[in-house]
């Protein structure tokens, strides 16, 4: 007998979560509860968090099964705005496809698509002011696309080429664009959470009018930074919007490893005394409405909000994993909340503001635009083909001024290149 085990007591049992479906299984999402549209109506933007707990367990929806926008959360967007939203989401999808293929063609090392989650970066950004500060995780390229950041610059970064504004230093897709209110992306997860709070606190302390918005995934809510950030935001009533894109998967680990078997991610807000909303992340209008509610609240000193977008990661985590190795096939096709692009398109068609023909024409137009941008970017080089920033830039920007030890190491590196490529290397 192992020391300490008592025969008269039932043995303890360690629970290790397991997703319902694995490769070979037929996915069945019939147990996911989808409340009626407007099951909980839109509260006042200054509602006390204590009075809106139900919203953290419900599901904010605007688009009903008949593709019409209804209920108190309906943001009442006009057809032009809806078409603009669809256009951005489609552009993001086309861009993602093209860059994923570029990685497969060996033009770069890595790519991450946002397939199935387009609404959570596009509709959200449209509900913010253009100078509000976004602290994205790695799957919110839709922010840049929505804010009209040049596609060529995104591609230059993905190729780490001579046109890359980040000088080839960052893994593809880890953009930085201060002028577009887009914070430098870290590969370390959820570090942007307390940073977004700090930015918001600074804005509030300077009597500014700008707010910050921050994104992370379901899996990375487990990081300590998430909880530090929510504590600070609650303490200082910071004008920040926390967003959890619950796409069900953190690489191969399902959301149960972040605690989803016990509660919702939106309900994390309750313990901190901040507002929590759980939203149909594939309903672009619901996503817009939730962000608009939270942004109005933050901008009028109502404090922070945590929004969970309930969605599904349509493809792999990145180009480096095969979802067929860990989850059931067809999950996305069976996802009960559909596809965000299709749902917005169907809504526009239903209200008579769009057609299948227009949709196909738009896809062609955007594909041509992306292809032309790609051609332009590739003139600056692709990864590993020599067209990169000058070698010495490796040592720049570690500090504002280069200290002696980096100068020495830079000289060493240049000598190594001369040894490797011969004396004429410098002239090149």
């Amino acid at each position: 007998m192992v020391h300490g085990i008592k025969d008269n007591l039932a043995p303890l049992h360690l629970h290790v979560p397991e997703p319902k479906f694995r490769p070979g299984d037929k996915a069945d999402f019939s147990d996911i509860i989808i409340p009626e549209v407007d099951a909980i109506s839109r509260p006042d933007e200054h509602a006390s968090p204590a009075n809106i707990h139900a919203l953290a367990y419900g599901l904010v929806r605007v688009l009903g099964d008949d593709n019409r926008a209804v209920g108190s959360w309906n943001p009442g967007l006009d057809a032009d705005t809806l078409r603009a939203m669809l256009r951005k989401m489609l552009l993001l999808r086309v861009f993602d496809d093209r860059m994923f293929r570029a990685q497969r063609q060996g033009k770069t090392s890595f790519y991450m698509k946002s397939f199935g989650e387009e609404a959570t970066s596009v509709a959200t950004t449209m509900a913010l002011h253009s100078d509000d500060m976004c602290f994205p995780s790695y799957r919110q390229q839709g922010i840049l696309i929505t804010r009209d950041y040049p596609l060529v610059d995104m591609m230059n970064q993905i190729y780490s080429n001579s046109g890359d504004r980040l000088k080839g230093r960052q893994l593809p897709i880890m953009y930085s664009a201060k002028d577009y209110g887009f914070f430098s992306i870290s590969g370390n997860l959820t570090t942007q959470y307390p940073q977004a709070v700090g930015w918001a606190m600074a804005s509030a302390s300077r009597a500014d009018t700008r707010i910050s918005a921050v994104w992370c995934g379901d899996g990375s809510t487990a990081e300590g930074d998430f909880h530090s950030a929510l504590t600070f935001a609650a303490v200082y009533n910071a004008p920040v919007i926390f967003q959890v894109v619950n796409n069900q998967w953190a690489i191969s680990s399902f959301s149960g490893f972040a605690g989803s078997e016990r509660t919702t991610f939106a309900a994390r807000a309750i313990g901190y005394g901040i507002a929590g909303l759980r939203v149909d992340g594939n309903d672009a209008l619901a996503v817009f409405a939730a962000m608009q509610w939270a942004a109005n609240r933050a901008r009028t000193n109502g404090g922070p909000t945590l929004i969970e977008y309930f969605t599904y990661r349509g493809e792999g985590h990145s180009t480096s994993d095969d979802p067929g190795a860990y989850r059931a096939a067809e999950e996305y096709a069976l996802w009960p909340l559909g596809d965000p692009v299709t749902r917005l398109k169907d809504h526009l068609i239903t209200i008579g503001a769009w057609s299948d023909e227009q949709h196909e024409a738009l896809i062609l137009e955007l594909s041509d635009f992306v292809k032309a941008s790609q051609k332009e970017a590739e003139q600056n080089g692709i990864l590993g083909h020599g067209l990169h920033h000058p070698m010495e830039t490796m040592f720049e920007d570690v500090f504002e001024e280069m200290p002696w030890h980096l100068k020495e190491q830079c000289e060493q590196m240049l000598e190594e290149q001369r040894d490797k490529f011969g004396p004429e290397w410098e002239a090149r």
């Binding site: 870290s186 700090g198 302390s205 300077r206 950030a229 600070f232």
Partner: protein, 342 residues
């Protein structure tokens, strides 16, 4: 031109004065940390600053070093110049990712799009019966990280001038304050009466603004026989031992560990032909290892004896046996005997 008004200050008062000067000079400077606001800090380094400069400039924070440093990175991205306090260096680890992966890399990874002009102040080192969670010297964790400057003062005068320079620096700085010498220099003889700062030259501190550039060491005693490279509390312990034993040592207070003032180090070792490195931190992979490597790379043919390392032991900082751990007069005297024999 008249000399600027000076005042005798201990190190806490000098740090307080530096913060006060910078809060007044630069509206972007903000101070935050556990207990730093109304109360003025557990070591009193921020006493009176909230009352004078307001709650939006000097404020208390939740007990979350990850949050404090992460929020600081975000404030710096906005355009502020945060000066967070981590109450003890031993508590800095929850904030390490924010320092190492975020603050230190911000300029590089964003190609100058975002920068992080943040100075993290933190009392460090032992000799105060703090036990293993209030005595650590983690400086070499930070010198190992590219993108952070590491600064450690040894006198009130240097503390103020270096802290002002650190706050004005546009890169992240970790500013470790040797808390054993907050109130007076320390000879290493814990059983002798504490000497106040007022009897030390380094306590005459100008009341206004001045700066000591980062990356410049100070030769605190000129000598011919052996070069001692050290910083913080150990500067004073080495001085006392050298005086007691009549050793003609050249004592260099590095003041900034990174970037290191290699010229001063190299010139001194080439002159004396002997080199001892002294720190309170644990020995293995301590900053002394880097110093020894730099010295042998540059001064090998000038060395007349192996480089000596005098450090704390590779154990957690013990509570009751603190003085057996501390690299005090006996350990130093034995090392001097050894290095001068060869």
């Amino acid at each position: 031109m008249s000399e600027p008004a000076t005042k005798s200050m201990n190190m806490i008062e000098a740090i307080n004065s530096a913060l006060d000067v910078m809060l007044a000079k630069d509206p972007e400077v903000v101070i935050m940390g556990e207990d730093v606001g109304y109360f003025g800090g557990v070591f009193r380094a921020t006493a009176g600053l909230q009352k004078k400069h307001g709650k939006s400039r000097v404020f208390d924070t939740p007990i979350s070093e990850c949050g404090i440093i992460g929020v600081g990175v975000g404030m710096a991205a906005y355009g502020l110049r945060p000066v967070p306090e981590i109450q003890f260096a031993d508590y800095i680890y929850p904030g390490l990712d924010q320092l190492v992966s975020e603050a230190a890399r911000m300029r590089y990874r964003s190609a100058n799009d975002f920068i992080c002009p943040m100075t993290v102040r933190s009392p460090f080192g032992g000799g105060i019966f703090g036990g293993q969670t209030h005595s650590q010297s983690p400086e070499s964790l930070f010198t190992h990280v590219c993108g952070i400057k590491t600064v450690i003062p040894a006198t009130p005068y240097d503390a103020k001038g270096l802290l002002i320079a650190a706050i004005e620096d546009n890169d992240p700085v970790v500013f470790f304050e040797p808390k054993r010498i907050y109130n007076g220099p320390f000879s290493g003889y814990y059983d002798r009466p504490v000497e106040p700062w007022s009897k030390h030259d380094g306590s005459a501190v100008p009341e206004g603004y001045y700066r000591i550039d980062l990356g410049k060491a100070a030769v605190v005693r000129e000598g011919q026989a052996v070069t001692v490279l050290t910083y913080g509390t150990m500067v004073h312990v080495v001085r006392a031992v050298v005086a007691e034993h009549g050793i003609d040592a050249e004592i260099i207070d590095l003041r900034t560990l990174l970037p290191l003032d290699i010229e001063t180090v190299e010139a001194s070792v080439k002159k004396t032909g002997r080199c001892m490195v002294v720190h309170e931190a644990t020995r293995t992979s301590g900053f002394g290892a880097e110093l020894a490597a730099q010295v042998q790379e540059r001064c090998f043919y000038h060395l007349e004896a192996p480089i000596e390392r005098v450090t704390g032991f590779d154990t957690p900082y013990p509570h009751s046996l603190e003085w057996a751990y501390f690299p005090g007069p006996v350990r130093l005297a034995r090392a001097f005997d050894k290095i001068m024999k060869d």
